[in-house]
């Protein structure tokens, strides 16, 4: 029965959809988390209130893309979900707990005299969530032990120098996104501060991208051949060049105090790293063990969901875009002591 097998083309489509959902999560909740990570370096009072005010109307919708990413893997590639989630159990739980603290901090810090406590929760939760996401990325890239249809490794397999590197990289990169978002959405002293943070976070992120890019091809032979051997090299060679161009443009944009260009260029940097990850990992769903076609759900489920995605995703993008447009403009704060 053909319905019992995944459709090869739909599998590719779904891999694209999931990748896109995760990417949208990263570039939107990325700046939410980034603002949380930089929170202790923002002045209590007006500066922190302004920064958090820029994301209050949109952060919840941004975070929903994480549920679509994870839920999407569950729905479209259930075998991969079943193998990977236990494999990254500890960082996954840490991420969920971090997101809980980050999420409630928005509401709680407005209702309490102990603002410092919930500012700390906002910072701690955001940083833990970002670091955990990086750990998960690294753990997946480096491969996990699989036996049949199950994870077969230990409780600590996810922890390695590589995953620690990716963890730190994500923290730096989200900080960069957050700073660039603030450059765009704030003015005066808050914006000045954001420019300074963007410079430091930019340097850290570029170093991180370089380090991860150098380390990844040596994790396994597939990655190596995608990057350094034909025919993969024809796709992969432009990526470092484009990253270099984006980096130079970014540095110049910061120097001339452009307001929107830094954010756009930071997004481009993220896009290029995502493409790089895709180049490395394709066609694995669980690197080294399960391909996307092996993990994919059955064809009738793929098409059943695709109908919904086709109709609903444009609608979602529409009203999400509307919300961003509605809350456009500089965010101010006057006189809060």
């Amino acid at each position: 029965m053909t319905a019992l097998a995944p459709d090869p083309l739909l599998t590719l489509v779904w891999a694209g959809i999931i990748g896109t959902a995760i990417f949208v999560y990263v570039i939107t909740d990325g700046f939410d988390l980034g603002i949380g990570i930089m929170f202790p370096w923002l002045e209590p009072g007006a500066e922190r209130e302004t920064a958090i005010a820029t994301i209050k109307p949109v952060w919840d919708a941004n975070q929903t893309w994480l549920v679509l990413g994870g839920g999407g893997v569950f729905a479209a590639f259930p075998l991969a979900f079943a193998i990977l989630m236990p494999a990254v159990y500890a960082p996954l739980i840490a991420m969920l707990l971090g997101l809980i603290f980050r999420g409630v901090a928005f509401k709680y810090r407005a209702r309490t005299k102990r603002v410092w406590l919930w500012d700390f929760a906002f910072f701690g939760g955001s940083t833990i969530a970002a670091f955990a996401q990086g750990l998960i990325l690294g753990a997946i890239l480096q491969g996990v032990k699989v036996d049949g249809r199950q994870y077969a490794g230990g409780w600590w397999d996810w922890l390695s120098p590589f995953s620690l590197l990716t963890g730190v990289s994500v923290v730096a990169a989200y900080t960069l996104l957050g700073a660039c978002w603030l450059i765009w959405r704030t003015e005066h002293s808050v914006q000045d501060h954001a420019f300074r943070i963007a410079k430091q976070a930019g340097a850290a992120s570029l170093a991180a991208v370089a380090a991860v890019s150098l380390a990844t091809p040596f994790l396994n032979h597939d990655y190596f051949s995608h990057w350094f051997e034909a025919p993969g090299i024809y796709y992969s060679a432009p990526v470092p060049i484009l990253v270099g161009i984006a980096a130079i443009l970014f540095i110049r944009a910061l120097a001339r105090r452009a307001e929107i260009a830094p954010f756009v260029l930071a997004q481009c940097l993220f896009l290029l790293t995502f493409i790089g990850l895709g180049i490395s990992i394709f066609p694995w769903a669980v690197p080294g063990a399960v391909t996307i076609w092996q993990a994919a759900t059955l064809a009738n489920a793929q098409s059943f969901m695709l109908v919904g995605v086709g109709v609903l995703l444009p609608v979602i993008l529409g009203y999400t875009g509307y919300a961003y447009w509605l809350f456009r403009g500089k965010v101010g704060a006057t006189g809060y002591a």
């Binding site: 209130e49 409630v104 009203y319 006057t334």
Partner: protein
């Protein structure tokens, strides 16, 4: 198969703990979102400021409750994979798409328009803001639809086949979604949510009526209006819920007789006139109900509308397929008992209103305050009944809980369980205390200037107010 009983028990307890905490929040948000839509609609229609006061009052509480629901909900989505990976692998092809639809059609809708609802009062016209409120309410209901479809399919699977590799697959998506128990469980859950909210609103109203009476102050009109609205809901909804619950029970009897046997505490089958066991101490070892207090014949009458009808007991179920009786048995009685109290509150309130003494009956108000949390306890008891009654299966009759778990060692699950317990009690305890603090102030006209508390949370401010937005 991975087979450590303590890891399994820990994983089960962790899921039960996290899902119970999680469900408290949507149980409240679903009803409250709809209530906010009603309030805003009434404000738009009548122009009376009291409805806007009530809207703003409950909006602050809604924001906190909704936020707690979202963060605890993300835990659930990922926990399918992390702790129940075998289930996710095998049932994923059927359940995954339903969850995907929940995310696409409900979660984005709620979270997308929540921002407009909370922060857009000064940025969009009144009608558009009302639309946002309505869409958030619709989103919560759509969310309930899909998750009930998922859970109902686990109880009464339909429209599926099983492949050679053990994975379930759908043969008929309509049959999967609208499986035999789904409509009953959806209605029952939604009514439970509305009732939960009505009881909370009524309790807050009653609390302020009592406080004003005690201090000799004339209360706010908003308090009276919200109390009256709540009593109206509590008068109307429990009878509907009793009916919905009964129909749900009859449906469960048809498709999951073993669960009904456990709920009723019927270890043994009866040829006719099965007794309704009001209370007893279940003994699973001996398969006997000790110290029972029962009403003869009533179970046959309630379950099959015929006092001479036979009933199936656990003796007709293979021993390895029997649920532990204590959980569904006690939980069901808690739920029904509270339901009776809610009925009583509604009837009394309706009678007091008819006599024109709704606001002058302190004992009614005290009962309303006492029953404030009753909805939460009742919905949790109901969920415990249905989920523990489904054991030892995750997919009733087809996949056992013992074969559904992830290959995680017990220390790993123990660590995450402890982490969840500590974090949840702390974080959601704090959130609940903030909500209670908000409830301790009476709804009324806004003060001369918005306080930083108000400003930081609900964004209806002139552009130069603290934290205000300025258009570039």
């Amino acid at each position: 198969m991975f087979d450590d009983p303590s890891a399994l028990a820990l994983a089960r307890f962790q899921f039960a703990f996290t899902v119970s905490f999680h469900f408290i929040f949507p149980a409240f948000s679903i009803g409250l979102a709809s209530y906010l839509a009603v309030l805003e609609g009434l404000w738009l229609k009548t122009g009376r400021d009291v409805y806007l006061q009530l809207y703003r009052y409950w909006l602050k509480i809604f924001a906190i409750a909704f936020g707690m629901g979202v963060v605890s909900g993300i835990v659930m989505a990922y926990q399918f994979g992390s702790n129940w990976s075998a289930f996710s692998d095998r049932a994923g092809p059927v359940i995954g798409p339903l969850m995907a639809y929940e995310i696409l059609s409900a979660f984005f809708l709620e979270s997308g328009f929540l921002g407009v609802m909370l922060f857009g009062l000064d940025r969009v016209g009144k009608k558009l803001h009302f639309l946002a409120t309505c869409l958030v309410a619709v989103g919560t209901t759509i969310s309930a639809f899909w998750i009930i479809a998922v859970n109902s399919w686990m109880q009464t699977p339909a429209g599926f086949g099983i492949a050679d590799n053990g994975q379930f697959f759908a043969t008929d998506w309509l049959a999967v979604v609208f499986n035999p128990s789904m409509p009953y469980r959806l209605v029952h859950t939604l009514l439970g949510a509305y009732l939960t909210t009505a009881l909370v609103v009524g309790a807050v109203g009653a609390y302020h009526l009592l406080k004003d009476r005690q201090s000799g102050r004339a209360g706010q009109p908003a308090t009276r209006i919200m109390f009256a609205m709540a009593i109206a809901m509590v008068a109307v909804t429990p009878p509907l819920q009793v009916l919905a619950g009964h129909e749900h029970g009859v449906n469960t009897l048809e498709h999951q007789p073993a669960k009904v046997a456990a709920m009723e505490g019927h270890y043994e089958s009866h040829d006719h006139a099965a007794p309704l066991i009001l209370f007893g101490l279940p003994d699973d070892e001996a398969q006997v109900m000790r110290h029972r207090i029962e009403i003869p014949g009533l179970a046959s009458l309630v379950l099959k509308h015929d006092i001479d009808a036979p009933t199936t007991g656990l003796d007709k179920v293979a021993p390895e397929n029997r649920a532990r009786v204590a959980f569904p048995f006690y939980a069901f009685r808690v739920m029904v008992g509270l339901g009776m109290l809610m009925l009583a509150l509604g009837l009394w309130g309706a009678w007091a209103a008819w006599r024109g003494r709704l606001f002058d009956t302190p004992w009614l108000h005290r009962l309303a305050v006492a029953l404030g949390p009753a909805g939460f306890i009742a919905v949790l008891a109901g969920w415990i009944t249905t989920e523990t009654g489904r054991q030892p299966f995750t997919i009733f009759g087809l996949m056992r809980t013992a074969e559904s778990a992830s290959p995680l060692a017990a220390p790993a699950v123990a660590a995450s369980l402890i982490a969840f317990v500590v974090v949840y009690f702390f974080v959601f305890g704090v959130g609940t205390s903030f909500i209670l603090k908000l409830m301790r102030s009476e709804p009324g006209p806004a003060g001369p200037a918005p306080s930083p508390d108000d400003a930081a949370e609900v964004g209806s401010l002139p552009p130069d107010a603290p934290f205000g937005f300025k258009l570039a």
